[in-house]
């Protein structure tokens, strides 16, 4: 059965077009995804991300349990800060990429991708057993609303009294919006300054309304998953299922730095990941840019001369830059910026060039 966001009726009222996303019916766009994309880059966009999973770990050994369960050193995260990390299998393959907030000395919030929610919840429960911590899946009771874009501080500042100048990137603070408790985080997936508000599902429509109203003079528009995808691609951010999978380790994705071998706790996947680190990856993730308007897309072949050397993981005509951009896995020897490759775009071979990620930086 398709799950609906607590904001579903709000979206219907806004004329949203829905898409099935990991078993959820979510807004793909409201009117024009290009206009929504542009609004996020130049003003602000309002996103419903309630399909994301929120799992809480509390207790004296929550930090140690997470150090064991994830590849990062979560015990080193200060209270009020957040960190990007990964849940890996024993084989080193990525089961999910996630953001972990440390809310208190003994309390963490793990935010996972909707498609991996069950896998993450189960793995955390299993890996935390034996540690003095409690794992609680809060996904059903928590809604997530994001305000992203250069005008987001003005909008969020108008609805709560949190000190936004003190709130750093990848940090969170509890505050109140319209009298309701929310967790306000300066995180996001668009390459812009922005905020994510974790709120009680029951009050999500009210908080959405308060933000929409406060955002009106600042050009805030509701924004769907279609523009979220082109925004994150421009920002060079990986998407699970495209750039990340159980077949790949963080090292192929160029994210080996998230694996902390120096932590005290032994962690799941450590041996396999150490081998991969030492042996070097056979395929690495690169950015590609093209000319013209035809974009390489997920699954298309990357060629070196006549030889197929890799595959596109994500690609689009960049709305901000105006030329095609893509990410792909290629052999390390072909991964240096400036390398000339090509892509088979539905039978026509188009030239592309390897570039450093991200494509776009604010």
């Amino acid at each position: 059965m398709t799950k609906k966001s607590p904001l579903h009726e709000v979206h219907t009222g806004l004329g949203a077009l829905f898409t099935d996303f990991a078993g959820w019916s979510m807004p793909v766009r409201y009117a024009s995804e290009l206009a929504e994309h542009k609004a996020v880059r130049e003003a602000a966009g309002l996103f419903d991300l309630s399909h994301m999973a929120e799992i809480e770990l509390t207790g004296p050994e929550a930090a140690r349990a997470l150090d064991h369960a994830l590849v990062g050193k979560l015990s080193a995260v200060s209270v009020g800060r957040a960190r990007y990390s990964m849940l890996c299998a024993e084989s080193g393959g990525v089961l999910d990429d996630l953001v972990v907030y440390r809310l208190a000395e003994e309390k963490y919030l793990v935010v996972a991708n909707a498609g991996n929610a069950a896998v993450v919840a189960e793995a955390l429960r299993e890996r935390a057993s034996g540690y003095d911590t409690e794992v609680t899946d809060r996904s059903a009771e928590v809604a997530l609303i994001a305000v992203q874009g250069p005008n987001s501080p003005a909008i969020v500042g108008a609805v709560c009294d949190a000190d936004l100048t003190a709130l750093k990137y990848y940090a969170s603070v509890p505050t109140t919006v319209a009298g309701h408790e929310v967790l306000l985080a300066r995180t996001g997936y668009t390459g812009e300054d922005g905020f994510e508000l974790y709120v009680d599902a029951a009050v999500a429509p009210e908080i959405w309304g308060v933000l929409a109203e406060a955002g009106q003079p600042h050009g805030l528009v509701p924004a769907g998953l279609a523009c979220r995808d082109t925004l994150r691609l421009e920002a060079g951010m990986p998407l699970y299922g495209n750039e990340l999978s159980t077949e790949l380790t963080p090292f192929e994705a160029g994210l080996g730095r998230v694996v902390k071998f120096d932590k005290e706790e032994d962690f799941v996947g450590k041996a396999a990941l150490a081998r991969r680190r030492d042996a070097g990856a056979e395929q690495v993730l690169v950015g590609l840019t093209g000319t013209g308007r035809r974009a390489p897309r997920h699954g298309y072949s990357v060629l070196d001369g006549e030889t197929v050397v890799g595959e596109i993981t994500s690609g689009a005509l960049s709305p901000t830059l105006g030329y095609p951009i893509a990410m792909a896995y290629v052999p390390p020897a072909l991964s240096d910026p400036g390398a000339k490759l090509s892509v088979d775009i539905r039978g026509r071979v188009e030239p592309v060039e390897v570039v450093a990620l991200p494509f776009y930086q604010r």
């Binding site: 077009l17 793909v28 766009r29 024009s32 995804e33 290009l34 279609a226 995808d229 082109t230 308007r293 035809r294 974009a295 897309r297 689009a316 005509l317 709305p319 539905r346």
Partner: protein, 124 residues
């Protein structure tokens, strides 16, 4: 959904307007809305011969690529250069500035009238 009464339609969501043996072809507002923002369009060449039902170009939106099917057999006599330069015209004005090409067809296949096409979109 805007489905002009005076046009004829194909089940592939194209519209045709016939004048003096030449048919102007475009895609419907329904198709444009389903595709999302169109960012690239490839049209058949002027002078080429189309075969009804065969692919003759493509329309690419931010999320997907769709083939364009020839609605009739005949010669392409004109293409809309404006829509090649500004593919967004397909979204903003599908029945006007967003037209795609003109074909001189010896004979038009059976096409749907506006009411029948509306029924089709309502079933979709």
């Amino acid at each position: 959904m805007n489905i002009p009464q005076e046009l004829r339609y194909t089940a592939e969501h194209e519209w045709l307007r016939e004048e003096d043996g030449v048919s102007t072809v475009g895609i419907t507002a329904f198709a444009a809305e389903s595709l999302g923002d169109v960012v690239y369009v490839q049209l058949p060449e002027v002078g080429s011969t189309l075969t009804a039902g065969s692919p003759c170009g493509e329309i690419e939106s931010t999320k997907s690529v769709s083939e364009l099917f020839a609605p009739a057999t005949g010669e392409v006599v004109e293409i809309n250069g404006g829509v090649v330069d500004e593919p967004e015209l397909i979204n903003s004005d599908p029945y006007g500035k967003g037209w795609l090409f003109r074909v001189r067809a010896a004979e038009l296949p059976e096409l749907l009238d506006a009411d029948r096409y509306r029924e089709l979109t309502e079933e979709a």
